[in-house]
């Protein structure tokens, strides 16, 4: 697999434990209690979108559902709110994965932005229907930040796959 489909570079296969580890790490970062600081991106949604686009056969709606339930508990929100939004997000990301990977990273971010925003809008719709309070427009900046972070995040999460297949100890690099 290549970094993007138009690239000539072949990457190592993604390891399942690494995918699992990054998702748990994202969950952990989401758990850091920063209160109602709304502008931080939802890391779980971002990393989940990434793996749904890169590895749609390994990470898809099942993982999204479980992560969503964990987020519901951690957030003290309504059970099923994150699960619902993440499942839709995973479906859309998996479906669009073939298309998105043909684009360079900047344009990939433009595809990811509506996905993240859509997930947030679904959550707002659920909670407003249940009588919640509108969190303010500032809450949606999380998605925009997530899209901006798409480029560095891709490099970071693909780093293990950039390693050479056979390590040559005589070669310095």
């Amino acid at each position: 697999m290549q970094p993007t489909h138009s690239s000539r570079r072949i990457l190592l296969p993604a390891r399942t434990w690494f995918i699992f580890l990054t998702l748990v790490l994202a969950l952990f970062v989401n758990l850091v209690p920063l209160g109602r600081f709304a502008i931080f991106p939802d890391w779980v949604a971002l990393v989940l979108t990434f793996w749904c686009i890169r590895e749609p056969l390994k990470v898809s709606m099942g993982a999204a559902f479980v992560l969503g339930l964990l987020m519901d508990v951690a957030d003290a929100s309504v059970m099923g709110q994150h699960a619902f939004a993440y499942v839709l997000l995973a479906f859309a990301a998996g479906g669009l994965s073939r298309r998105i990977l043909w684009f360079p990273l900047g344009q990939q971010a433009l595809h990811v932005l509506p996905l993240l925003l859509g997930a947030q809008i679904v959550m707002v719709a659920i909670r407003l229907a249940a009588g919640g309070e509108f969190p303010g427009v500032l809450w949606f900046t999380g998605s925009f930040l997530g899209a901006v972070l798409w480029h560095p995040l891709t490099y970071l999460l693909l780093l293990p796959q950039y390693q050479p297949v056979e390590r040559d100890h005589n070669r310095p690099i």
Binding site: L31, P33, M61, V78, M79
Partner: protein, 304 residues
């Protein structure tokens, strides 16, 4: 998409079609949503998942905790800080009595005339610290560091040194979740301290509250202090709750719009007092109709 040569061809092991999977998970989520919102039957599942998540959550709290500790250490001398802390605890422990003083005086005067004084409910409290605000942006909740192991129960009132803060809405073994008064779903029965007029105060979101269901000519003025009326058998009577800021008496509506702001430091961090459960004498049995029981955390409207 799987890498050629590393796993078998994926044609045969893809499982159900994406659309079928989507439908399955979406319907499962909707079932969960309805079960939680409508029937409130998922508390046991939440408790289980929260217990699994607890170590991770605790670990995630460490950097924030360390940051706060570092700030404290740099900001003040240690001894001074300890003394300050103990004094604050002491003040908080007596706040319950101090805050109700004025109300007690008034009531005392009235009752002395009647010579029909009943024994007042003594109440004990438990000091807890607010750990952090819940991440959910649609509600106003905070997490405090006392849970079922410290004897906290859902429904208990939470106050700070200035007034009522909210109500315990969910308990876990080591922490509990307090819904603040400014939450949209939260309501509290109050009375105007000046006139004794009783009403229901409900959260309006965004740090504000409103006094509901009062006629446009009701005897309320800006600056009036609202105290708990104690009609709901949860809050002790006479605890300060909020102050009236603005009254909009538009005759085209049947009710006045009365905006209030909370007296307690509702959106701040610090130490709070969780009041013990109130035991109220049973209501007298009515012959015509049974009085409706106030549901937990729901608005209770009573005529006076």
């Amino acid at each position: 998409m799987s890498v050629v040569g590393h796993s078998p061809p994926p044609f045969f092991k893809r499982g159900p079609a994406p659309l079928a999977r989507l439908l399955f998970f979406v319907s499962l989520s909707i079932v969960l949503l309805v079960a939680d919102l409508r029937f409130h039957t998922l508390e046991w599942a939440r408790l289980g998942a929260a217990t699994v998540l607890w170590p991770l959550q605790r670990f995630a709290y460490l950097p924030v905790d360390a940051g706060m500790d570092l700030g404290d250490y740099l900001a003040s001398q240690r001894a001074l800080k300890n003394e300050n802390e103990s004094l604050r605890k002491q003040q908080l422990a007596t706040a319950n009595l101090l805050l109700r003083q004025e109300h007690l005086d008034q009531e005392n005067r009235r009752l002395r005339a009647l010579l029909d004084m009943k024994e007042r409910q003594p109440s004990e409290g438990r000091i807890a610290e607010i750990l952090y605000a819940a991440r959910d942006p649609f509600t106003r909740r905070v997490i405090v560091d006392k849970g079922t192991q410290a004897g906290v129960e859902a429904g208990q009132a939470v106050i700070d040194e200035l007034g009522v803060l909210g109500q315990v809405s969910r308990t876990f073994p080591l922490t509990s979740e307090v819904t603040l008064l400014t939450d949209k779903e939260q309501a509290i029965p109050v009375e105007v301290q000046r006139s004794g007029l009783r009403a229901v105060l409900a959260g309006a979101g965004a740090g504000a509250m409103e006094l509901r269901f009062l006629a446009t000519n009701a005897d309320v003025q800006p600056g009036d202090v609202l105290v708990t009326s104690g009609l709901d058998a949860l809050y002790l009577p006479g605890l300060p709750v909020a102050k009236v800021i603005k009254i909009d008496r538009d005759n085209s509506f049947s009710f006045a719009r009365i905006a209030c702001e909370p007296l307690a430091g509702v959106e701040r961090h610090g130490q709070v007092l969780i009041l013990g459960r109130r035991t109220v004498p049973p209501l007298p049995v009515e012959t015509t109709a049974t009085p409706d029981k106030p549901a937990k955390g729901r608005k209770v409207k009573r005529k006076h």
